[in-house]
Symmetry: C2
Amino acid sequence: MTKTKPILTVTMNPSVDIVYQLDSLKLATTNRVTSVYKTAGGKGLNVSRVLHQLSCPVLATGIIGGNLGEFVTQQLDAIHLAHDFLSTTYPTRNCLAILHDGKQTELLEPGPTLTAAESVHFIQHFANLLPKTQLVCISGSLAQGLPSDYYVKCIQLCREKNIPCLLDCANEALVKVLHSAAKPTLIKPNLSELSQIVHQSFSEDLEKKLIDVLAKPLFAGIEWIVVSLGSEGAFAKHNDHFYRVYIPSIEVRNPVGSGDATVAGLAYGLVQNLSDEKILSLGNACGILNAQENETGKINVQKLAALREQIQVMKIK
Amino acid sequence: MTKTKPILTVTMNPSVDIVYQLDSLKLATTNRVTSVYKTAGGKGLNVSRVLHQLSCPVLATGIIGGNLGEFVTQQLDAIHLAHDFLSTTYPTRNCLAILHDGKQTELLEPGPTLTAAESVHFIQHFANLLPKTQLVCISGSLAQGLPSDYYVKCIQLCREKNIPCLLDCANEALVKVLHSAAKPTLIKPNLSELSQIVHQSFSEDLEKKLIDVLAKPLFAGIEWIVVSLGSEGAFAKHNDHFYRVYIPSIEVRNPVGSGDATVAGLAYGLVQNLSDEKILSLGNACGILNAQENETGKINVQKLAALREQIQVMKIK
């Protein structure tokens, strides 16, 4: 395994995630917080951590800045996870989750606004990392200041080098990719993201509708489309084949990062050249295992084999 | 001025203060914050900044840790304010103020818990700085893990070296000092802190009551006691003399840090050997100027001379 090229994960707008746990949030006064938890956050970093737990070589990249950027890399160093970020002068953001009164109130900072020069510089940095990479996972939103077709450029570079590229993003950044000639190897929209893109609801006759929608020209050339259905499992298209993934019902502790863990499992399955069924069971198993932990981007690898046995992948067409 | 020894300010539990400005804080959902402001916080740092603006040589010390500790020292470096902090492995805290719906909701992290070894180490560090110091300002709460009589030890060291020591703290840390033989040169309780200490209210006949209370044995040996009365000015005792300070009515922008600015002004007056009246007018003027700025620990030095003219210091006894 040690001589294998790593999977490169891309996080363009990472964060230091702060969780405050309070019995009650009192407004208009001072709250003294005794339960404080700070971690390196960002979808690509979650992917990285799960790959790392799967003993898959991984290299994390993206853009960081300031003292909070250093916190991010120190957190990765602490678990011996390789990284090669580009630094910006504007500091990495905090994202705050306050757990209080049985609710979760989030406060998200916007993060750095990149300059045109930094935008160009990161593309060069990314291109330089590609020869050392066997597969790329791009996850999450773009930093401010980057054009919405920025991931199109990243995917073009992967295509030129014939490196598979998984893309997990939403909104305008995803739409730009779908309308471009630069096709990612895999996308993983959830049902509501897909609904938004195709302006269609999936309330009934789910499988038939998904087959019709994913066969549209908009998705042509994308080898893998994995649509996550939450507790209902997943629906997938690989070239001309369609699959339904059934998962066991589980007790969810923290669903945050489950999609990222799924991407990690799918990526790991792809680089191992597993069968379609095994790729899908591995991806979904990682997602479920993440949901069973309190920590985001964490899976209990010991439970992986048994869980995969409980996941059914049915070929539909 | 350059050859003068600096004033040493002590901040045992500094912070990185984050201010989020929102039209409205929506609970149980995600708030995207566009107005984010981060500064080095802590009462001793506010004193330092005001002294620095007064062109008084200052050296900031205390305990810092981790990436947020580095942020604190970088903020001081950026304004060329000298510092010599002791580092702990546990990171410096965030203190968060959310300004929303016309309210201010604060979330304060506890900060590092110091070990017994660190407690001893800082005392040594502090003692090493004293020969380079002409006056010490100790401000704010103790870090967790420190005994409540920790400031007593600091003041003892100042006394041994014959260095004046100003103490601005509350609660148990102040009570321990008052009951010890280590007398600070100056304390600056506000009326409610004083009320708590002496278990007495000051609702009527204010000046007479203050004269009686400050003459109690509890305060014997403390050269200066400056009781801040908010918009009503201040009341002060210097040895056997009592003073009332009358201040002009002003528009308050941000009162946070006004007490610290007052300490800075008093300290600067003391090291310049000014008259009692001038020391008190300088301290109060700095407090007022801080309240007229949005930024904590900031004063408009240009306005200082004119404002001091508007402050009346009346000798009562």
